[in-house]
């Protein structure tokens, strides 16, 4: 039941605004309360994990509502609840509040669903459902002139691969059915089946394409600049802080363990893609004139590093990947929200026109400074711990990959310090349309972010020790695959009965 609680709370929170009409304050308060409750439930869940529920849904199709809270998922669930709380606290929608808060919480609920499900079909349900609030939030609560186009781009990039993902999932289940004895989408049962390499390969490609779009990883990132740029900073925080994690998580949870041989086959190619992502993102982030785009492309680079850690296919890399996903979620949400406040106050997000915020709002600049330090990987803050572990894992698989990745880490210091300097310091004093003041609620929400940055920085083992068992079992699956005989052949050719 504890597993379901965050999901239920966020879903209720998403439904509640529909009954409150146009009362913006009440709706915001209700959303805050529900996301705070979800956060509490998730934190309790971390203490009580691992846990799982199995409710039959549609037995004829091997469909059961299987949700699991383990080392892999529990931190991401908590991160989602925390990010939602922060996003709601930093939102101030009065025109059309019901739709806005409802969609934010719906997005969070579906993301939690993807993190928890251990049935492929249930996962797909949440995965697909997650796209709708994203589409509507970008399209109807956009900021830029091209928000509809950005929304369409997001929709196309998300939906086309995920439509084919369904074929991959069903084929996987049908191919594995003879070995299991009946049609099943349950991860536990599917993990025991060793499919032939030819079948694995194309299923893996469909899986990977769909998951990599959501992260995003170059070259599937084309929707990202539009979606992050045209939407509100709060929505961008949700997309970058939470949604991007679902893609990486699905790779770790489903694609790699279910299709180990294909993963091994494609790993070098994926590593190249990851490295391009890292360098490309870093390069754009270093030169972009738009502050929010700097954060967006830094995410592309940082998540590319996480992806590389996953592709390294060892327990250390996976451990580091989960830790860094959590870290990235924490500082990316904080960065988008804090910079979003600057944008709103200054009326622009061009770095050339900003500057001198530190002189106007010292407390605010302090929060921004700590977040930037965490993001660029200062030892003692959370970003460093994750990157270190990731690089260690990558180093074990390939030294070349690791050296190239380390280069990107140095870049990351450069662009984040540039971002901070051009925003908070410098000779040019920005004209503020509105005062940059942290309301008590926003302050209260930011405190746990900073605490987490420091705490995880000093005690990353609190996270990694819980992730480790899961990471090791996944890494073992990769190693074991070669030893067993494949069963359940599935061919493309139509056979007539």
């Amino acid at each position: 039941m504890l597993v379901l609680l965050p999901l239920i709370l966020l879903t209720l929170g998403a439904l509640a605004p529909l009954f409150l009409g146009r009362q913006a304050r009440a709706i915001r308060l209700v959303s805050l309360v529900f996301s705070a409750l979800a956060l509490v439930a998730a934190v309790v869940g971390i203490a009580q994990a691992p846990q799982q529920v199995n409710l039959p849904w549609l037995p004829a199709l091997g469909l059961s509502l299987s949700l699991q809270l383990d080392g892999l998922s529990m931190f991401l669930v908590a991160l989602t609840a925390l990010a939602t709380l922060a996003v709601v606290a930093f939102s101030d929608e009065t025109e059309r509040p019901a739709g806005y808060y409802s969609l934010i919480l719906l997005m969070a609920a579906t993301a939690v669903g993807t993190f928890l499900s251990t049935n492929l079909l249930v996962f797909y349900v949440f995965w697909e459902l997650m796209i709708i609030p994203g589409y509507l939030l970008i399209g109807t609560y956009g900021q830029g002139p091209d928000s509809r186009r950005a929304a369409l781009k997001f929709l196309v990039y998300s939906l086309v691969p995920s439509a084919f993902l369904l074929v991959a999932i069903v084929t996987l289940a049908v191919a594995a059915a003879p070995a299991i004895g009946h049609l099943s989408f349950n991860l536990d049962q599917l993990l025991a089946v060793h499919l032939p390499a030819a079948t694995q390969n194309w299923i893996f490609l469909l899986f990977a394409a769909s998951f990599m779009v959501k992260v995003p990883i170059w070259p599937l990132h084309a929707w990202m600049p539009d979606a992050y740029g045209e939407s509100r900073p709060q929505v961008a925080a949700m997309l970058s802080g939470v949604l991007s994690k679902t893609g990486l998580y699905a790779l770790i949870r489903f694609a790699f363990p279910l299709l180990p041989e294909a993963a091994r086959l494609f790993a070098p190619a994926l590593a190249v893609i990851a490295l391009i992502s890292i360098l490309y993102g870093a390069w754009i982030a270093l030169t972009h004139r738009d502050g929010r785009m700097v954060i967006a492309y830094s995410s592309l680079s940082h998540l590319g590093l996480v992806f590389l850690g996953v592709v390294a296919l060892n327990a250390l890399g996976l451990d580091g990947a989960v830790l860094q996903m959590l870290n990235h979620g924490i500082y990316a949400v904080a960065l988008f929200l804090l910079f979003g406040m600057v944008e709103e106050a200054a009326g622009t997000r061009l770095l050339a026109k900003l500057g001198g915020v530190a002189g106007r709002a010292a407390l605010f600049a302090g929060f921004l400074w700590i977040t930037v330090l965490a993001a660029l990987g200062l030892p003692g803050l959370n970003g460093f711990a994750g990157e270190f572990l990731l690089l260690l894992g990558i180093f074990r698989t390939s030294q070349v990959w690791a050296w190239i990745a380390i280069a990107a880490v140095i870049f990351s210091a450069a662009y984040f310090i540039r971002l901070f300097q051009l925003t908070a310091q410098g000779a040019t004093e920005v004209e503020l349309i509105r005062p940059l003041r942290l309301s008590p609620i926003r302050f209260a929400v930011l405190v746990p972010f900073v605490v987490l940055m420091v705490y995880i920085g000093f005690a990353p083992a609190q996270v990694t020790s819980r992730v480790q068992p899961v990471a090791q079992s996944i890494a073992r699956l990769e190693a074991r695959a070669a030893l067993t005989q494949p069963v359940g052949n599935y061919s493309w050719e139509a056979s007539r009965q």
């Binding site: 796209i131 509507l136 399209g139 439509a163 084919f164 074929v167 009965q497």
Partner: protein
């Protein structure tokens, strides 16, 4: 004069009680209308029609739950089995909604109600048809009233255009169908499907240069092809779909609501029966024919739907697309696949009827009201209508966990299990494209409202109830798909014809 002894056919009236209920209701409506002034009492007649439909549905359910099925009547030319009864229920639901939607509209008249009921009878007979002549008669009985119904807004040129277009193409397709049926009769020497199936099982494979009974095999192949063409018109499969967008745009919304579901159900039912009884056992290559039809229908329907600005046209193309899914699943040719198709059809009926009901309510009978731009800001004017419409559209786009998703899932599972991977990929390609199609009205509904647009018409209570019920059904069927899986499982277990055709 020496006449052969004619034995009156044994008719089990209980088996055709749903059809009889509709027939009696329609005649009573006309008889009652004799004593009413033309403009008076339409509402009562609409309720009478609704009651008749409910009685028919009730006797349908009794049949479905009872132990009589499967059974044949009228000397084996009508077969009553779970497949037919489930599809009958869907047809009756469509007819009920059409009557409710029309109750407050200019098109409402005794003729309208009677014609709708007659068309429904034709559809119900068609899904039970087990004889070539009955099949053709049923197609005509369902089509002729629809031609007239399309013209029920004579004040609009588009309505008349729709009627003429539908009539001409429909009559044309009837010719194809009749020719195909005649060829099948020529091959088999009998009109009962059992006889046709037996004859087709023995003809050699159709090759123009092979040995053996070339002529017979060729005739059988051409006959099957022509029958598929004729039914393809009714099903709105590409390339026989040209009438769909214009008819959907021009005809009164209540009529479109009825025929978009009813004709599709009836055509699918008869095609599924033909596949199951006749095609599967024959040596003719029907799978290639249906595969090509399905791929063309899915891709063309999806792509052509993208630029549509008129909601009814958009749903017309979406109907074409969904017809493609139905044809695709029939290619597999197994009873499980037929059951998947029936499940999909049931879910499609729920969401399509719902979408048309919302269109009818929002447009208030105005031509301008069916444009997508009219839906801007609907969420902020009628939040629950918008939520219901969002549910229907998302379900049509097969977003989980709504009803449409499971329909699509069963189809995919049937196709993949039947090793029809190309068709499976086509189906999801179509799905991916339509998500973009349905995304546009969805975005419009949640966008800020247009300050210039006129206020929305008030929704009649019956229509609001119908929309609510359908939306709840779409969500509930999605959350608890097992609820109607049992029903459909019955279809697949007993199968359309096992124990009757001897197959």
């Amino acid at each position: 004069m020496n006449l052969p002894l004619i034995v009156p056919p044994q008719v089990a009236f209980s088996l055709i009680s749903p059809d009889l209920a509709l027939l009696v209701t329609s005649v009573v409506i006309l008889a009652v209308a004799l004593f009413l002034a033309p403009e008076q009492g339409i509402r009562w007649l609409a309720w009478l029609a609704a009651a008749g439909i409910l009685v028919a549905a009730g006797s349908d359910v009794i049949l479905l739950l009872g132990s009589q099925l499967p059974a044949t009547t009228f000397s084996g030319s009508l077969v009553m089995d779970p497949l037919a009864e489930v599809l009958d229920l869907v047809i009756l639901a469509a007819a009920l909604l059409a009557v409710l939607l029309a109750a407050n509209r200019p098109e409402a008249s005794p003729d309208y109600l009677a014609l709708t009921l007659w068309s429904a009878i034709g559809m119900m007979v068609l899904v039970s048809a087990h004889d070539l002549i009955v099949l053709f008669l049923a197609v005509e009985v369902l089509s002729l009233p629809l031609y007239i119904l399309c013209a029920f807004r004579p004040d609009r040129p588009t309505s008349l255009e729709a009627a003429v277009k539908y009539f001409l193409l429909g009559a044309f397709s009837s010719g194809f169908l009749l020719y195909g049926l005649a060829l099948l009769f020529g091959v088999s020497g009998g009109t009962n499907l059992t006889q046709v199936a037996a004859a087709l099982a023995t003809v050699g494979s159709a090759s123009l240069f092979g040995h053996g009974a070339i002529g017979t095999a060729l005739i059988a192949e051409v006959g099957i092809g022509l029958v598929v063409v004729g039914l393809g018109f009714k099903l709105a499969a590409v390339p026989f779909h040209q009438w769909v967008p214009d008819v959907y745009e021009g005809a009164p919304t209540s009529v479109v609501t009825f025929m978009s579901v009813g004709t599709k159900v009836a055509a699918f039912g008869v095609l599924a029966r033909l596949v199951d009884t006749v095609f599967v056992g024959s040596a003719v290559d029907w799978q290639g024919l249906l595969s090509a039809l399905a791929v063309a229908t899915i891709l063309a329907g999806a792509v052509l739907a993208i630029p549509q600005q008129n909601f009814k046209r958009l749903l017309g193309y979406s109907g074409i697309l969904n017809a493609g899914y139905l044809v695709a699943v029939l290619v597999v040719g197994s009873q499980a696949a037929t059951a998947a198709g029936v499940y999909f059809l049931v879910t499609y009926a729920l969401m399509n009827l719902g979408a048309f009901a919302v269109i009818s309510a929002v447009s208030g009978g105005e031509m301008e009201g069916v444009m997508i731009r009219r839906y801007r800001g609907l969420f902020y004017q009628q939040p629950w209508t918008a939520v219901a419409m969002a549910v229907f559209l998302l379900s049509l786009a097969s977003i989980p966990p709504l009803a449409g998703f499971f329909g699509k899932l069963f189809i995919l599972q049937a196709l993949i299990s039947g090793h029809q991977l190309v068709l499976a990929l086509t189906v999801v390609a179509g799905t991916a494209i339509t998500l973009i199609v349905y995304g546009r009205p969805l975005l419009a509904m949640f966008s800020p409202p247009d300050p210039d647009s006129p206020p929305l018409p008030k929704m009649p209570m019956a229509v609001a109830t119908a929309i609510g019920c359908l939306a709840v059904a779409v969500v509930a069927v999605g959350l608890v798909p097992g609820a109607i899986v049992g029903l459909v499982h019955g279809v697949s277990q007993i199968g359309p014809l096992s124990g009757i055709s001897g197959r």
